[in-house]
Amino acid sequence: MILRKPLRTGSSLMGVLLAITLFALISLVVIQWQNYQQHQILEIYQRTQALQIAENQKQRLVLALDCETAIQQNDLSFKVECNKATQAVNVQYPLGKIILKNP
């Protein structure tokens, strides 16, 4: 007489499956988005440094000095190409490239 109602110790199988599926979907979206943001962070980090390098190299050109060809900083390698005649500076960083030239 005490156990008149059967004790429910959990949800049904369908309920659990639905919850797992939803959770998986949400985590997938979150992970994707996070990856994208991570990529953006890296890009910003590298580009900021590349811009600084480009500015420095341009200043070197103004002073009629030779450009450096490769720069290693913060575990990143930057490739620099300068053209003295056209006063153009290209800086290549792992995720992209900065092109500066006179119009």
């Binding site: 429910r8 949800s11 049904s12 309920g15 639905l18 919850a19 939803l22 959770f23 949400i26 979150v30 988005w33 996070q34 943001q37 953006q40 962070i41 910003i44 580009r47 900021t48 811009l51 480009a54 500015e55 341009k58 103004v62 006063q87 900065i98 500066l100 030239k101 006179n102 119009p103």
Partner: protein
């Protein structure tokens, strides 16, 4: 059945809470990233303008017309801003002139050299093929016909068998003697072309600035 429904709603609402918290965090991160990206872009834009403007300011001076009057302003301020992007450069153009205005084929008189102008053109004078500058006494043996302006600051004796197309000027205590075999004539057009090489507007050194200076009322 009733209890089962309730437990399902609890699970879903828990998921909704978790996911909205995550989304909120990501959106917040995204706005921060957006700001940082904007910063980088702004910097790139600035660098690009900074690249383009100095050469433009160099050319700017060459476009100013020749001063009409003798005492026209020798200094002009200018501003360059090609795309109206907020960044502006200013500078001064100065008019340089080595030869006095009005120099022509008839001039032979003593030519006073402005030391300041001379210092400015010194480098160009050394390279120029049509101006012959003699600072010291010299005996000049001419072997070919020449075109140009000859300036003597000391005693200059020209010998040889050649034609000179141009004028001879003496500066300071200059004294010139020509041997009889040398014929001297002058074409106005060619002379003026040489003179024009030594006058014009140029960007004044160190006059470049990117903040507009307040000009006091005169």
């Amino acid at each position: 059945m009733k209890i089962k429904m309730k437990s399902g709603i609890a699970t879903i609402s828990l998921l909704v809470v978790i996911s909205s918290a995550l989304l909120l965090m990501l959106v917040f991160n995204d706005s921060l990233l957006h700001l940082a990206r904007e910063n980088v872009l702004q910097r790139y834009q600035y660098l690009k303008t900074d690249f383009a403007l100095p050469p433009i300011s160099q050319e700017h001076c060459q476009k100013i017309p020749k001063p009409a009057m003798k005492n026209a302003a020798r200094l002009q301020e200018f501003a360059v801003n090609p795309n109206d992007e907020g960044l502006q450069y200013f500078g001064y153009c100065q008019y340089f002139q080595l030869f006095k205005t009005g120099l022509n084929c008839q001039s032979t008189s003593i030519y006073d050299v402005d030391p300041q102008q001379l210092a400015h053109f010194q480098e160009k004078l050394a390279r120029h093929a049509n101006v012959f500058w003699f600072e010291n006494d010299k005996l000049w043996q001419l072997e070919r016909d020449i075109t140009g302006i000859i300036i003597a600051q000391g005693m200059l004796e020209i010998q040889g068998n050649a034609k000179i197309n141009g004028i001879i000027l003496s500066a300071k205590k200059g004294n010139i003697s020509l041997s009889s075999e040398i014929s001297l004539f002058c074409e106005e057009q060619k002379l003026q072309k040489i003179i024009e090489d030594f006058q014009g507007w140029e960007l004044v050194e160190k006059s470049w600035h990117d903040i507009k200076k307040a000009v006091a009322n005169r």
